[in-house]
Amino acid sequence: MTVLAKKKGSLALATAAAIFSTSLSPFSLEGTQAKHLAGQPANHGMDSAFYNHLHRYGIHLDGPRRIRFPSVEVSDLPQEIYSGTQRLVLSNRNFKKGWLLNARIFKEKLFGTTTWERIPAKLRFESISWIEGGSGSTAGISIHPDGERIEADPSFGMGVFEIAFEVKLEIPPFPHADNYYGICSFIVQ
């Protein structure tokens, strides 16, 4: 007798995914590009004569030595990550002719240490607030609309000020996984 029977076949499928990470060693651009940026050695970018000149006028700038961004993962979509608000202190004892504070990120990018992929970066000054000395206010000091510089008019800008700024990274889709580094320079003139 022939047996007739329906066969029900089915497939259950299993997946195996491999996740890869990069093994990286830290690298800083400070020893190379930083020197060019400042035109001077690492100690605030000043030689002794220059330092004496500044010291006489009493302008001093102090900010974060290192800004670390939140970590992100590779994505198929563009991502923006922010440094969060950072602080910079500018103190001007008695230079009365005004000043201009510029901020520049080297080549406006961060560089992958192993891949040399570049991630565009932008810095924007957010605010300036008076701390002590001078006229007791931020009168005569303005942040330009592009957020890239702050200017104190002549006879203004004396005292100690706290400047808030933020750096934004514009990560393209499918970036390389890597550690990225860059240099941000603040120049008072």
Binding site: T2, T22, L37, A38, R65, E73, F95
Partner: protein
């Protein structure tokens, strides 16, 4: 607005500014890490139970080569590991086995991978191996897979199940 094009410009500006008025440079090192995402077969694309293309399968008293065919369409790949390399997808089909008595139906013809969504960067090296040559990363890449099973003359009637294991690795 002064637009500083390169470090030399900045250094020059510093030098000019030094002669005219006090100037000072402060620096901050910027550091960010972009971690790898997954190189994965999208689990949802294989989560369903696949049924054979044939509606009715019967024992005939003789061997039936490639009598049962499965078409697994839309296997989805996401390459977000950011390593700049391509990947290799392999399939390992296993025999269908009888739920009760453990008898098996052997793998027949494997048509294998077909219809990759990015044909330019895809090489079907063998029915069970697909190589993706682009390292740029990709999301929602899809490919189909087809295989058949043979019914031996001595096959038992009943329900059969089987597994195809897909594996993906970076190149």
């Amino acid at each position: 607005m002064r637009y500083l094009r390169n470090p030399l410009c900045i250094a020059s500006l510093c030098a000019i500014a030094t002669a005219a008025r006090p100037s000072l440079t402060e620096q901050a090192n910027l550091a960010a890490t972009i971690g790898p995402g997954a190189l994965e077969i999208e689990p949802a694309s294989l989560a369903t139970e696949f049924l054979p293309m044939e509606a009715n399968i019967t024992l005939t008293g003789s061997a039936q080569t490639d009598a049962i065919t499965f078409d697994i369409s839309g296997i989805e790949i996401n390459d977000l590991n950011g390593d700049g390399l391509g990947w290799k997808l392999t399939a390992s089909p296993q025999a269908l086995y009888h739920e009760l008595d453990g008898s098996t139906l052997p793998v027949g013809t494997v048509s294998g991978f077909a219809n990759p969504s990015d044909a330019i960067h895809s090489t079907i090296a063998s029915p069970n191996q697909l190589i993706y040559t682009s390292g740029s990363g990709i999301a929602q890449y899809s490919v189909d897979y087809r295989l058949s099973y043979t019914i031996p003359i001595t096959a038992s009637a009943g329900d059969y199940n089987g597994v195809v294991v897909f594996n993906i690795v970076a190149q």
